[in-house]
């Protein structure tokens, strides 16, 4: 009978050990101790259980206790492993990890691809759906352009690409660029290659006629940015609130733009004495800057100003609200 109990305890213990539940082990230890005590007392009262079998049970419990301690102390060390077998194991483990990580990465790529695909098809759908708006409405087109640039898609990158096939947008900006060049060249002799962006827009609108798609200042800026690829022939100068398109490859430094800003405050003209009093420049500096602007054809002189007592004043046609024609 004790053998059966023994075997049972052993089995449960083993089970518990394999689960490594410390509380249960302690419970078993206390249980074993209690049985030992009980055996000793029963010997005195000539009990049912023989002394020898009682001792046998106590040894069993003690053995199990040792076994327990052994397992708990030594198992972690064993798990860490030593020797060739352990290295093999470690290698295998690493390999398994690698395969798992590869699996995860490929899954991620697959997912990203799927997302991109969805995005592209959505964008295409959007583009097709709003094709008319994109082509006709300049404000809408700007927003679309902004959205595309944020996610790194450039509808202008190629006129053979998806965008031009879908929208004809690529061609749109090339066409506009040619018109910009056309207008800039036409007025170069009177404004020296400087033209205010609003004036330019008006002229291009007139040139395209009423039937053509509406264009905005932003469209012109986008086109000019594209023209920069051809060299530094086209540039946009910021004269305070005004944007001036420069169509000649002339290096204008800060002094030149300062003069333009000064003239901008002065109904489009300035004079050496105005510049001297407002900017505090030397006579030489003023005359050299004005000479450059005059020689480039950006300034026109006027020697009949009564207000300035016959001092020659310099006008900048590019600052006027309409072209000098």
């Amino acid at each position: 009978m004790f053998v059966i109990i023994d075997l049972c305890t052993l089995k449960t213990l083993k089970l518990e050990i394999s689960n490594r539940n410390p509380y249960l082990v302690i419970v078993f230890f206390i249980f074993g101790f209690a049985v030992l005590k009980w055996g000793a007392s029963s010997r005195r009262t000539a009990s049912l259980i023989s002394a020898s079998s009682c001792t046998h049970f106590a040894f069993k419990v003690l053995f199990l206790l040792n076994y327990n301690i052994f397992i708990y102390l030594c198992l972690p060390a064993m798990r860490r492993g030593v020797g060739i077998q352990a290295i093999h194991k470690a290698n295998q483990h690493q390999k398994q990890l690698n395969t798992v990580s590869e699996q995860i990465t490929s899954e991620q790529i697959k997912k990203t691809n799927e997302q991109l695909q969805t995005f592209k098809s959505n964008l295409e759908e959007f583009a097709i759906k709003h094709k008319k708006d994109i082509i006709k409405n300049p404000e809408f087109r700007k927003h679309f352009q902004d959205m595309c640039s944020v996610i790194g898609v450039d509808p202008l990158a190629s006129n053979k690409g998806f965008w031009s096939q879908m929208l004809g947008v690529g061609d749109f900006y090339y066409q506009l660029a040619v018109q910009i060049i056309d207008v800039c060249l036409r007025y170069r002799s009177t404004n020296g290659g400087l033209i205010e962006i609003n004036t330019l827009t008006d002229h291009i609108r007139k040139m395209r006629g009423k039937a053509a798609n509406e264009i905005s200042k932003d469209d012109i800026e986008v086109s000019i940015a594209k023209l920069k690829v051809l060299g530094n022939g086209f540039n946009i100068l910021k004269i305070e609130s005004k944007k001036i398109v420069q169509s000649v490859p002339c290096e204008l430094n800060k002094d030149h733009t300062d003069v333009l800003i000064n003239a901008q405050h002065n109904d489009g003209y300035t004079s050496p004495s105005i510049l001297a009093s407002s900017l505090g420049w030397s006579e030489q500096r003023i005359s050299s800057v004005l000479e450059v602007l005059l020689n480039e054809g950006m300034a026109w002189i006027d020697n009949q100003s009564i207000q300035h007592k016959g001092e020659v004043i310099y006008w900048f046609p590019s600052l006027w609200s309409s072209t000098f024609e």
């Binding site: 020296g192 026109w300 002189i301 006027d302 009949q304 006008w315 000098f324 024609e325």
Partner: protein, 179 residues
């Protein structure tokens, strides 16, 4: 309706001859354009520079912006105009100038076309008939300046399309030929 001046007429530096060559070239072009279209509109064939300037004629004086062309500036412009074949000095002092808002060659073509269209080849016409005749009322050369008309007919003479001859009473007559 009076003549509509172009927008550049109200720009102050337009009335000062520009020192930079390219700019000046453009400016003279614009002035010649203005003078020719003004003369065409008002059928002016002859300009007396001194008189125009003395009288503050609005062609050379913009009252609104208080800018005017000086005598020298005006002469520079007319020199250029004559250079490109749109006029002729009438005196040595270069005060009076003939403005050809159509060149004599152009007038010649117009007149000859009218003669052909109205079937008047091989007939003798007086200059007066061309200038004031009932048949030419709708033509652009109606009321054409006599000097210009004679110049134009001389062009046709050179092309052997017409012959000018002295008629009675010192009136000139012209005979057109079909070629």
């Amino acid at each position: 309706m009076s003549f509509q001046f172009p927008s550049y007429y109200s720009r102050e530096p337009f009335f000062t001859i520009q020192p930079v060559l390219n700019t000046r070239k453009k400016q003279l072009e614009m002035w010649i354009d203005l003078v020719l279209s003004y003369c065409r509109y008002n059928k002016v064939y002859e300009i007396d520079i001194n008189e125009y300037i003395k009288k503050d004629h609005k062609l050379f004086y913009n009252e609104k912006i208080n800018r005017r062309l000086s005598n020298e500036s005006t002469k520079i412009i007319f020199e250029e105009m004559i250079e490109i074949g749109n006029g002729e000095w009438l005196d040595k002092d270069k005060n009076r100038v003939m403005v050809w808002w159509r060149k004599p060659e152009e007038w010649a073509t117009l007149i000859y076309k009218w003669v052909l269209d109205s079937g008047q080849t091989n007939q003798v016409l007086t200059l007066w008939e061309i200038q004031k005749g009932d048949d030419t009322k709708n033509q652009e050369f109606y009321d054409l300046d006599t000097n210009v008309l004679i110049k134009s007919l001389k062009v046709l003479e050179k092309q052997s399309k017409a012959q000018v001859f002295q008629g009675t009473d010192s009136n000139l007559g012209v005979k057109f030929f079909s070629i």
